[in-house]
Symmetry: C2
Subunit: 87 residues, 2 copies
């Protein structure tokens, strides 16, 4: 599956969320990750994120598609990250 | 088509980018919009965004799928925005 993760979390929790996302996905832009995952990897990512966020204050949205072919990505301006840029 | 727009733009340009995105899509989270668009609307959105950003400093990534059925969205924690919440 192809996954996009966007997060809006409290500053003090950002480093943990960033670290978890980096294990599974490519950094695309501030608070945005993308990449290909198996279903098992996606579940593990979600479980890891749930364990570190405060569900009453933080917000993470994931978008998944069965495969990358279903989603077209276009960049306007500077290409900050993306596949191949695992920081 | 279903579109997701994420932007990382200079602070002084954020209000313009936000205003343009609001015309076409639903605010989902800080710097993230989503929604359904016709191809013509998508082209108009892209043209409007190109006209206000500095391509050497700002970054906007769009993800499009032929229809919402191809993309599943999941929210962890607080649901900040989304369909129905046109601010």
């Amino acid at each position: 599956m192809f996954a996009i993760v966007v997060y809006d979390t409290a500053v003090e929790r950002n480093p943990k969320v960033l670290k978890i996302c980096r294990k599974y996905l490519h950094w695309t832009q501030r608070s945005v990750f993308q990449g290909e995952l198996t279903t098992a990897q996606y579940r593990a990512l979600i479980a890891a994120l749930r364990a570190v966020i405060d569900p009453d204050h933080d917000s993470i949205v994931t978008y998944t598609a069965r495969s990358p072919e279903f989603v077209e990505s276009t960049t306007l301006g500077v290409r900050l990250g993306g596949p191949g840029d695992i920081l």
